[in-house]
């Protein structure tokens, strides 16, 4: 009896830990698509880039503490995101068939980024060291401090994001444009500049998520695609347009990942996720909390 309870507890905790790493990348994608209605196919590569940037800072500048490395990477990701919007998305938006063109362009960007990573860093996987060493023992379960740190940082980032979206003017403007973009024009919001900021924030979340994923799992040039797909499944399950939905979906899918790993095997995680998504979409086509 005792081992069962412990197993379930381990699965749940493992699920929350897994989910918390996914929350960041899901939030970034949800925010971006919700506000701009643009599907950024380079999103997976951006999260990988974030991981590799951190790797470069920590291993090539030996004196740099992990935390400082992260803090340096984030603004770089922000401006990279804004740059993508300005140089690629904006010029395309004014022409016809922009939706298709943006998909193709961001896809191309993904290929470029991945190839760059391959050339500079080589094909072998790399790992980022965990943020904090050591484990804790609670009631017979062994939990790594590092995972708690990730969970803590993720919660802190989500709280900051929530405050930004609900209490600041720019944040309210983002939510407004997500709900009705013509309305956004009518009230005088500079939607172009807003899209730039949205891309920036989305890329920061991707980069931070990439760093955490890189230390939880590993970094590889093409690794971003799997996490991109996972982020997409989370956003779709939670409901497009709902940030809270994405958060809750991340935890649910994290627990599912943890259970599937435990019961069947890690390879079955992604198919299991798709299965859950399809079932939920049949019952609720808009996703769990979708508004569109």
């Amino acid at each position: 009896m005792g081992t069962w309870v412990r197993s379930i507890a381990e699965i749940l905790i493992g699920g929350i830990e897994a989910g918390s790493v996914y929350i960041l990348i899901a939030a970034g994608l949800s925010l971006l698509y919700g506000v701009t209605k643009i599907f950024n196919y380079s999103y997976g590569s951006l999260l990988t880039l974030g991981g590799y940037f951190a790797w470069v800072l920590i291993f090539n500048f030996a004196g740099i503490h992990y935390g400082i490395g992260i803090v340096v990477v984030l603004p770089v990701m922000f401006f990279l995101g804004m740059g993508i919007e300005k140089l690629i998305v904006f010029p395309l938006r004014r022409k016809a068939e922009w939706e298709l063109n943006v998909v193709i362009a961001t896809l191309g960007l993904a290929l470029i980024f991945n190839s760059l990573i391959l050339v500079v860093f080589g094909p072998l996987t790399k790992t980022l060291p965990p943020l904090i060493e050591g484990n804790m023992k609670i009631g017979g379960c062994i939990l790594s401090n590092y995972r708690w740190a990730v969970l803590g940082i993720t919660i802190a980032v989500m709280i900051i994001l929530w405050i930004f979206l609900t209490k600041t003017k720019l944040g309210m403007a983002m939510r407004a444009v997500a709900q009705d973009s013509v309305g956004g024009h009518i009230v005088g919001i500079n939607t172009h500049r807003l899209f730039g900021y949205t891309f920036g924030i989305s890329t920061v979340l991707a980069g931070l998520g990439g760093i955490f994923l890189g230390s939880t799992y590993f970094l590889s040039p093409e690794g971003g695609w799997l996490f991109f797909v996972k982020a997409f499944i989370i956003v779709a399950l939670g409901g497009i347009g709902s940030l809270q939905g994405a958060l809750i979906a991340a935890i649910i899918l994290g627990v599912i990942e943890s259970s599937v790993c435990f019961l069947i095997g890690a390879v079955w995680v992604t198919p299991a996720w798709f299965l859950v998504l399809i079932i939920i979409l049949i019952i609720r086509p808009k996703g769990l909390f979708g508004i569109r």
Binding site: M172, Q179, G183, V187, G188, N190
Partner: protein, 234 residues
């Protein structure tokens, strides 16, 4: 205040408005009436920057606004209140109104404009915290007009505010718009008919097939058979 010359807007090959020229003085209340689908909304959307004309010029307070993005035109003081309203559905009345004051000039006057809006539409004050998607049609119209007022506009272009409302509510809407006009704000109203409010309006234009076919004041409008058809024949 507004000088429009030779304005033409196309939807692909279709010419929605042809060669429109009209002038609106500071503080006037003008109405553009006419049957549906004949270019009235297109005209408003074009002067407010939501659509781009193929030819023509729009001078607002002496400055050319054709080609400017909508937010710049809002900053200059010309605001569009859409027929479809385009409110932010998941946000409250208060949040929608607050967002109306997004541009920096409007923020200084946010408190007093909000007070004016709530005095004009007392029902909105009661429903301040209510999410906009749960409001009735008439109430959401009020929010749309209120949101336009919050931008501290000097001129407001209102697109069919009374559409689908019961007759007594229609008169109500026109009266409230007149209140706004009395504050010194120029009003460009688009409607299918304004029979019950003719005495409130300074000048009328009749638009058919994307062209202006009549312009004049109330007396001239009532003495034209054509115009009377347009008002009462629909």
């Amino acid at each position: 205040m507004l000088e429009i010359k030779n304005l033409s807007t196309y939807y692909d090959e279709f010419r929605a408005i042809s060669d429109i020229s009209l002038t609106v003085e500071d503080g006037e209340f003008i109405a553009i009436i006419g049957p549906n689908g004949h270019g009235k909304s297109t005209f408003l959307k074009t002067i407010c920057g939501l659509l781009r004309p193929k030819t023509g010029s729009v001078l607002f307070a002496g400055k050319e606004v054709v080609g400017l993005p909508t937010y710049k035109i809002v900053e200059m003081g010309l605001v569009y209140v859409a027929e479809e309203r385009h409110l932010f559905p998941e946000m409250t009345v208060l949040e929608n109104l607050t967002l109306g004051a997004y541009n920096s000039c409007a923020r200084k006057f946010q408190a007093e404009n909000m007070e004016f809006v709530f005095n004009l539409f007392p029902r909105l004050r009661e429903r301040k915290k209510q999410v906009v998607s749960t409001l009735s049609g008439g109430e959401s119209r009020m929010v749309a007009i209120g949101r336009g007022l919050m931008s501290n506009a000097k001129a407001i272009a209102i697109d069919e505010p009374s559409f689908g409302l019961a007759p007594n509510l229609r008169i109500d809407v026109f009266n409230r718009i007149k209140e706004i006009n009395k504050k010194g704000i120029t009003i460009i109203l688009v409607e299918q008919t304004v029979a019950e409010a003719m005495h409130l309006i300074d000048r009328f234009y009749l638009m058919e097939d994307g062209k202006i076919v009549f312009q004049g004041n109330e007396k001239e409008a009532l003495s034209s058979e054509h115009v009377k058809q347009a008002f009462l024949g629909i």
